[in-house]
């Protein structure tokens, strides 16, 4: 396994460094009376790793869902590379943003390779006629897809699992497979929802390594995590979300030392926060 480049320490956090890739403005998401995400703004630049932290039920996953079109935000807009993207998952992926899920959602009965190949769906074009007639284009594209998927499996360190069923993989491998599947969509921005949940320290280390390598391919990464050491080591910039609102935004150092963040986290044990806890999606 190659050693990844560390975060360039010589730069301040990256705002104004690369081009703006992702810009979410005033995203609001309400469920009936509950406001899960409240006027959140986030800007992500090329080659940047942004962290999203916050206590359970803060609205982090919901915010991802809004970005990727799984939820249609009550108001607000999301721009990718300057273009406004409609809240339709397929269009979002096509525009260049892909994600992983907090509670793994692989296609369990497909092999690892097939899972990744599904990710290439939106970048390939073989239609019915091509497929049924099996022209040269079909064979070429099929071969390329296969090669690309294998390459991505190797990239995330799952080269040996090609023909294994996704459901048979160990937990940590499943998380990495989800990353490979997301990368297969050729995203400009990758959204990772708790990529190290349930991992041991060694796997966590590999995960941050992987995220650096993804960044080094020129992509931007947004990571949700509860593991603070992981986040502060990894990210160029961190947003702390509390009850749907951005409480603090800044460099890891700034966020780390902000008393409000500490208070928000200590406050998680409080009753009123506990009520918000999402029953369906507790961390595994």
């Amino acid at each position: 396994m190659s050693t990844a480049t560390r975060r360039p320490r010589d730069t301040e956090f990256a705002s104004g460094k690369g081009e703006v890739l992702l810009q979410a403005s005033d995203v609001l998401m309400q469920f009936g009376g509950l406001t899960a995400v409240k006027d959140v703004n986030m800007t992500v630049h090329e080659g940047e790793i942004v962290g999203l932290i916050g206590p359970n039920g803060a609205g982090k996953t919901t915010f991802f869902n809004c970005l990727t079109g799984l939820y249609k935000p009550t108001s607000g807009e999301v721009r990718l590379a300057g273009e406004q993207i409609p809240p339709k998952p397929r269009k979002v992926v096509k525009a260049g943003m892909a994600r992983t899920f907090q509670n793994i959602r692989l296609f369990g009965n497909m092999t690892a390779l097939e899972n990744v190949m599904v990710g290439t769906y939106c970048r390939t074009t073989s239609g019915v006629l091509t497929t049924v007639l099996r022209g040269p284009k079909f064979h070429r594209e099929e071969k390329e897809t296969r090669a690309k998927a294998q390459e991505l499996l190797d990239f995330v360190g799952l080269g040996h699992t090609t023909e294994l069923l996704a459901r048979n993989l160990p937990y940590g491998d499943q998380r990495r497979l989800e990353v490979a599947r997301a990368l297969a969509t050729d995203p400009k921005v990758v959204l990772l929802d708790e990529p190290t949940a349930g991992m041991n320290p060694q796997e966590t280390q590999q995960a941050s390594d992987l995220i650096f390598r993804i960044r080094d391919t020129g992509r931007a990464v947004v990571v949700i995590e509860h593991d603070m050491r992981f986040i502060f080591n990894l990210c160029d910039r961190v947003l702390c979300l509390v009850r749907g609102e951005v409480l603090v935004e800044g460099s890891p150092e700034q966020v780390q030392s902000d008393p409000r963040v500490i208070e928000a986290y200590i406050g998680t044990g409080d009753d009123d926060d506990f009520d918000d806890d999402d029953v369906q999606e507790g961390p595994a």
Binding site: T111, Y121, V132
Partner: protein, 562 residues
């Protein structure tokens, strides 16, 4: 359901002897008379001149002897064959077979008294075989998947299997009384279970995958040669045509249900659409459209009309949960039926002649080839229905090709992903709606195409051919045979259509049996008789063991093909 496990301490040597002894008794019995009455079950009354049903018994006996000989033998080339399990299957099947025949003889000739010695001896032989087989010790076999014979040998074996299947179908078709047919089914079932228990089919599935193109071609040739077994008579060929139409529709439905996972409960309406377009634009006296273009144009129009209807029904519902689609297709089936029933000039425009339908549709004429007349092929005669049969087999081959090419492609992977987790597939950029509508309208297109041929192949097109009942038969064929597999669905369609034709006495119970079979199938074997591995996994999501087995098979197969 817990069947108490019978534990018998194995006595291999005794078992072996009994198995062989029983088999010999059976063979001897088959050479004797079983009944004094020569009209029962195709004349079992002459000693020394075995009738077909007795010939089956001889084959069973011979196989029993071979099995007995294989006990204790360590033949490396057959180390994958499970002698004990297969011998038990053979013995039990033989017993069922003999009991069925004896019961039939006794029933028809007025009592057990009237069984001749041969019938008794056969029963004893079968019982002895059962006793012997259950005394055999269980054997450990090597993995059947890893068996890799010479290419030519594998192809010969597979072809022989296909031919045996064809022979069985032809035999059943020829049977003219329920008893013989049932007995023949029991014999076929016995050999089927024997091979299954022995591990033959496990090997066959992998070996067939290795020689796919050859096999497909072989199956096609076998199916095309089928009319030659009928000596130019049309009685069975008209049944075969019905089966072939049903098969085409079932294969089309298999794309919708088996690949895309969409439950279409009104699929027969698409066949009906094609049939009505074909009928209305034919040159029949009662055709209602004045334009009579050549058949190829009509076929295309029928298929397209069907597909457009599919789009109209599918586009609102496919965005919603799959249940809605199921109900709406059901409603569509009813709308179709009501509409063709009503458009008789009184309740609507006169397009379909209402309940009377459109009759007297002339035979097809494609490029000067008249489907209505007989043609000679060397010394063989190809009859009227045989012409249609051959055309329909070609259409079925077309549908199968489309099916398997779509299945192994980007589109097929998209469908699987949708079946697995629709939301995740969507979030990964799969065009859910497009893929669903493709399957749905594509399925409708193919059914429409088959329908236009049906219009010419059947005497008349009437509304009552296209009821919900027919749709549910189609669904039953797909589900019972095995969703997403060609072989399974072909088997399901053939069995479902053939049996009621030949076993008239089950006619009353047919629906009851199909209904219960659907329920039991979903409960105990939702993946169908011949399961697609993927489907099997999907229906047994909690079965980790199965997942391991399937994965091992898959990896082995990859290695074998590499």
């Amino acid at each position: 359901m817990n069947i108490p496990k019978i534990t018998i301490s194995p006595r291999p040597n005794v078992g072996k002897a009994l198995l062989a002894g029983g088999a010999v008794l059976l063979i001897v019995a088959a050479l004797l008379a079983w009944s004094y009455d020569s009209t029962i079950l195709g004349d079992l009354s002459i000693s020394g001149n075995p009738a077909p049903l007795q010939e089956f018994a001889i084959v069973m006996g011979v196989v029993g002897l071979i099995e007995a000989a294989l006990v204790h033998r360590r033949l490396t080339s057959l180390s994958w064959w499970d002698t004990t399990s297969s011998a038990r299957a053979l013995a039990v099947g033989t017993l069922v077979y003999i009991v069925l025949i004896d019961y039939n003889i006794a029933y028809q000739s007025g009592g057990v008294i009237n069984l001749d010695p041969g019938a008794w001896l056969a029963l004893v032989g079968a019982l002895v075989m059962v006793a012997g087989s259950f005394l055999l010790a269980p054997v450990k076999v090597t993995n059947q998947l890893k068996v890799h014979g010479a290419n030519w040998l594998e192809i010969v074996v597979i072809t022989a299997t296909l031919a045996a299947l064809l022979f069985m179908v032809a035999f059943i078709l020829r049977g003219d009384d329920g008893g013989s047919v049932l007995a023949a089914l029991a014999a076929g079932g016995t050999f089927g279970v024997l091979l299954f228990r022995g591990g033959f089919f496990t090997w066959l599935s992998v070996a067939a995958a290795r020689h796919r193109p050859v096999i497909m071609l072989g199956a096609l040739v076998v199916a095309l040669l089928f009319p030659l077994t009928q000596n130019g008579t049309d009685a069975n060929m008209s049944i075969a045509v019905d089966i072939a139409i049903f098969l085409c529709a079932a294969l089309g439905l298999n794309i919708v249900v088996g690949l895309a996972g969409l439950l279409d409960l009104g699929y027969i309406a698409f066949l009906g659409t094609g049939a009505y377009v074909g009928a209305m634009m034919s040159s029949a006296a009662s055709a209602t459209i004045g334009w009579h273009p050549p058949f190829l144009v009509v076929a295309l129009l029928g298929a397209l009309t069907s597909a457009v209807l599919g789009l109209i029904i599918g586009s609102p519902t496919l965005r919603l949960s799959g249940d809605y689609l199921a109900i709406v297709t059901l409603a569509f089936g009813e709308i179709f039926h009501t509409a063709v029933n009503n458009m008789d000039g009184t309740n609507g425009p006169d397009l379909t002649h209402g309940p009377n339908g459109i009759a007297g549709i002339p035979d097809l004429n494609l490029f000067g080839f008249n489907f209505g007349s007989t043609h000679n092929l060397g010394s063989f005669t190809i009859s009227n229905y045989s012409n249609y049969y051959i055309l329909l087999v070609l259409v079925a081959a077309l549908i199968i090709t489309i099916f398997s090419r779509l299945n192994n492609s980007r589109i097929g992977r998209g469908w699987i992903a949708i079946r697995e987790d629709e939301r995740a597939a969507e979030a990964m950029g799969v065009n859910i709606f497009g893929l669903k509508i493709l399957a749905f309208a594509g399925g409708a297109f193919l059914a429409g195409l088959a329908g236009t041929i049906q219009a010419h192949a059947t005497p008349s097109v009437v509304p009552d051919n296209y009821t919900f009942q027919e749709s549910s038969f189609l669904l039953a064929a797909v589900v019972l045979g095995g969703m997403g597999t060609v072989v399974g669905v072909a088997l399901g369609a053939t069995v479902l259509k053939l049996l009621p034709e030949k076993l008239r006495f089950i006619e009353d119970y047919r629906l009851l049996i199909f209904g219960l079979a659907l329920v039991l199938m979903m409960r105990f074997r939702p993946e169908g008789l011949i399961a697609s591995r993927r489907r099997q996994l999907e229906f047994h999501d909690e079965d980790e063991n199965l997942a391991d087995i399937v994965q091992e098979e898959h990896v082995d197969e990859q290695k074998a093909n590499a």
